[in-house]
Symmetry: C2
Subunit: 229 residues, 2 copies
């Protein structure tokens, strides 16, 4: 069966989107192969068929689904005999909490810490639009955000306290085995790893061992991609 | 069967501990009745048998369990035929995340917003110890924290963004029905309600409807207790 994932692509075809990585992990968890199609910021015409402008977009068995959370829910329902992404209805309900936590509490400080690095990892023709929209959003220049990066990075690391506490007593956010809850946050750390030379986690952060476990899954799916230089 | 919960008690026997409320909700969810024993800050001798100094402490069928999370896990295992608090292993693993999120991200700004009100709701003989330990912890006077309360309250409200987003698409944090994930955060809001005359949630906060739903459970268990004046 043809299955295609449209994912964000930067300079030198660098695929760093945290939301696309959530879907990459979810597909691997479900043992599903997929053709990957890169979509640069300036190539939104490639996904116009999806009726919206954001990646990831999954085309599967004639269905078109956008939004990483909706894709995960679709995969869970469509492929119930493959390993579960959520471990039941309650696990799914609470994974949505972790999804929103990551988007609303973790990403805001992280994006400010690495946004200038993200900018430098975009194709030249995409940089102007990115700079204009982001500088308007944050009310300051990308260079100003870069100058403040240590503060934003410290704020980001603080937001991870709940995950750190959980990993102190169980190997994965999903419990004894990894599930979509882990892929949500792992996608965020993969984003930082691929878009920025800054180390997202401090040297002594106990989340590093968890990250290694998740990045090593599926034959090292996440680790196979070289980190940002 | 004798079952006893030792819970924190303030001035005029006000029982506002968020951790004790988590256990109150959990017991009600499991349809378990319980004898309640008040423990003021200066009455730690009442729980010395538990081998530690914090409430809640549950004594059930000869077992002594302290720590609200451990109590919830104990109840789930001990009473498997009563309604589930977690909805399975994954739900339990992810509820632990929500538990840590509440303790580590939500409580710090809230406690600073309401700590002077908490102080005013303690017995006179407990206030000195409370003031000394808390002023040392925060490096400023309770009155200084009170003067900053609007800032701390705004910070607290911001930490609730993930819960707000979840409740935008499902009635409870636990999904279609309430479970321990809801009781964790409801305990926090009950703490604010019983210890402080400040309204924890803004007038237009969409979490108010969720709070009403949870506070109305079990014949209005939470609502029966009068709010702080």
């Amino acid at each position: 069966m043809a299955r295609t994932l449209y994912e964000l692509s930067g300079k030198s075809d660098r695929r760093f989107s945290p939301f696309c990585w959530r879907t990459r992990f979810a597909l691997a968890h479900k043992n599903l192969t997929v053709d990957l199609v890169p979509v640069a910021f300036g190539e939104k015409e490639k996904i116009v068929f999806s009726g919206q402008q954001l990646v990831p977009v999954l085309v599967d068995d004639g269905a078109t689904i956008s939004d990483s959370w909706k894709i995960a829910c679709y995969l869970e329902e469509k492929y119930p005999r493959a390993p579960s992404l959520f471990g039941g209805a309650t696990g799914q309900a609470e994974a949505l909490f972790i999804n929103h936590w990551c988007d609303k509490s973790v990403h805001p400080p992280l994006v400010q810490a690495i946004i200038f690095d993200v900018f430098n990892n975009l194709r030249a023709e995409d940089q102007r639009y990115f700079r204009e929209t982001r500088e308007k959003r944050f009310g300051k220049s990308l260079e100003a955000l870069y100058a403040e990066r240590e503060t934003h990075l410290a704020n980001f690391r603080r937001t991870l306290e709940p995950a750190r506490a959980v990993i102190g007593t169980q190997p994965f956010l999903g419990g004894a085995a990894p599930n979509y809850a882990d892929y949500i946050l792992a996608g965020t750390l993969q984003w930082a790893r691929l878009a920025s030379p800054q180390e997202a986690l401090a040297t002594d952060d106990t989340l590093r061992a968890w990250r290694d476990r998740v990045f090593g899954l599926f034959d090292g799916l996440a680790n196979k991609v070289p980190a940002a230089a």
